[in-house]
């Protein structure tokens, strides 16, 4: 079981917001209010909340696209306000919802943007572009195409490849998968999580979609209107014990089911009892939510869990699943 409490003292925060407030000119209330937040190296932190909660503003203050009114933002040990904004931004990956690919540059040129700005040797840039095309599973023949000739999903992947190009330790992603249909979005999310498991970037990810937040996050920051942090915890904890009524209502219905969706069968202690002959089979890399679905649709109370090698791992019962949700 995952047992994450507060941030371990051994890991230094890669990004640290300290009492950050932003009030835009000609407005009477703060867009972000006294926000303090540490992002640990290698984690995905998702900023989520209703519109007007300052999630995008918060993200854009990290690479100084927006300047805070007060407070301090430290990235890799340095106060961002003490750094040259242009140089700071070249060291931080950036992906936005509409991707913002340059229509007049080919896919390869788009991916090479930051290496070019940094003055990399063309051969090194070329190798890197090819590597990223492979990593994002893009077809090599797309390299010479213009963004206008790509599908929405391809564009999003080129956007991610471009943000990864100079191998920045920190990435900012503002609803990077929002502009595509749900099927493509789910595939992009899975692909990105698989890449992230290998690369271990420190990522600040903004979304308004609570399900996306739960799926992508190592830690979720739930913001309320005016940039007030309501809860900052791993998704499992947010679902198990929402900090207050706002969080509970924002996370929405089916909190139990969503929590089951975060637990992989492999991580659950299985029972070695024999299963009835009509019991459904389920792979151990599935989630408890999928196991529950298999059980209720087959009318059985017991499922046989199968490993990747086809070997029976044990059985999973309805009663065992509901115990996971018990307080």
């Amino acid at each position: 079981m995952r047992e994450e409490t507060s941030i371990e003292s051994t890991k230094l925060p890669m990004i640290s917001l300290r009492s950050v407030t932003k009030r835009f000119a000609a407005t009477t209330s703060d867009a972000v209010h006294e926000l303090s937040l540490d992002v640990v190296e290698g984690e995905v932190v998702v900023l989520v909340g209703p519109s007007g909660c300052g999630k995008t503003t918060t993200m854009r203050m990290i690479n100084r696209l927006i300047e805070p009114t007060s407070g301090q933002i430290v990235v890799e040990g340095t106060d961002v306000l003490k750094r040259d904004p242009v140089e700071l931004r070249r060291g931080i990956g950036y992906v936005i919802q509409t991707v913002g690919l340059m229509p007049h540059r080919t896919v390869a040129q788009n991916i090479a943007t930051v290496p070019d700005l940094l003055g990399w040797d063309p051969a090194r840039t070329g190798d890197r572009v090819e590597e990223l095309i492979g990593l994002l599973e893009l077809l090599p023949e797309l390299m010479s195409r213009y963004p206008g000739e790509l599908s929405g999903g391809q564009r999003q992947r080129v956007g991610v490849a471009r943000a990864l190009a100079a191998d920045p330790p920190v990435m900012l992603m503002d609803e990077p998968f929002a502009a595509v249909d749900p099927v493509v979005r789910a595939r992009l999310q899975d692909q990105f999580l698989a890449i992230q498991r290998r690369l271990r970037k420190t990522i600040v990810f903004v979304t308004h979609d609570v399900d996306e937040a739960i799926k992508m996050a190592d830690r979720v920051a739930i913001l309320n209107v005016g940039g007030i942090l309501e809860q900052y915890a791993p998704p499992e904890e947010v679902l198990r014990s929402p900090a207050n009524a706002f969080v509970a209502s924002f996370v929405g219905e089916e909190r139990g089911l969503k929590r089951l969706g975060l637990i992989t069968i492999r991580d659950v202690e299985l029972e070695p009892v024999a299963a009835p002959a009509d019991a459904p089979f389920i792979d151990d890399d599935r989630t408890l939510r999928e196991a529950l679905d298999a059980l209720v649709t087959s009318g059985s109370t017991t499922a046989v869990v199968v490993g990747a090698d086809g070997e029976h791992r044990g059985v999973l019962t309805l009663e065992r699943i509901s115990r996971e949700l018990a307080p």
Binding site: N63, R89, T98, G100, L101, P103, L117
Partner: protein, 224 residues
Amino acid sequence: MIPLAAEPLIRWDWIGDHASEIGSQVLEHVELTVIAVVIGFAISFPLAILAHRRRWTYAPITWVAGVLYTIPSLSLFVILVPITGLSATTVEIGLVSYTLLILIRNTVAGLGSVPSDAVDSARGMGFSRNQMLWHVEVPLALPVMMAGIRIATVSTIGLVTVGSLIGRGGVGQFILEGLRTLFQTEILLGAVLAAALALAADGALLVLQRALTPWAKGREEEVS
């Protein structure tokens, strides 16, 4: 109709006899046009950048360019002759003045048509202000800017003919002389050459525009 009894519509022999003169007038026409558009663009471009970046300057800049555009070309030449004489400079001042409004408006519109997400992502990736201008904004504004250059060039080619009144009118010289001597061949020659030059210039600039913006293929309607 000008009564021209017993004259054929066009006297090809006259045209053949004056080939070198025709050549030099065409060359003068092209020169006057190119110089006017190049200088006009050199003045318009920085003004358009200023108007794009400091929005409040747009109205006064286009007001001045608009006033210049409104002055009838004939009056402008007449006003300038005592100052700059019967020279190419007089014609160029007039011609340049008329390109400004079109070029400034189109360049500002072009810069305004640059997708804001491309600008935002470029800023987020660490483009400096100059890099943004030359590598993002200008290339993406090019289709609309080129449309302005095409209009300015074509209208300049038309205006050059008015310069014939002070002796610097390119192929307009034939029209003026033909009218003075009631010689239809010369009138037609001047008119056809001016129209042909305009069409050729427009076509050449369109080809150039396509070559400069291969990415905009098949979406020009969208931009304009």
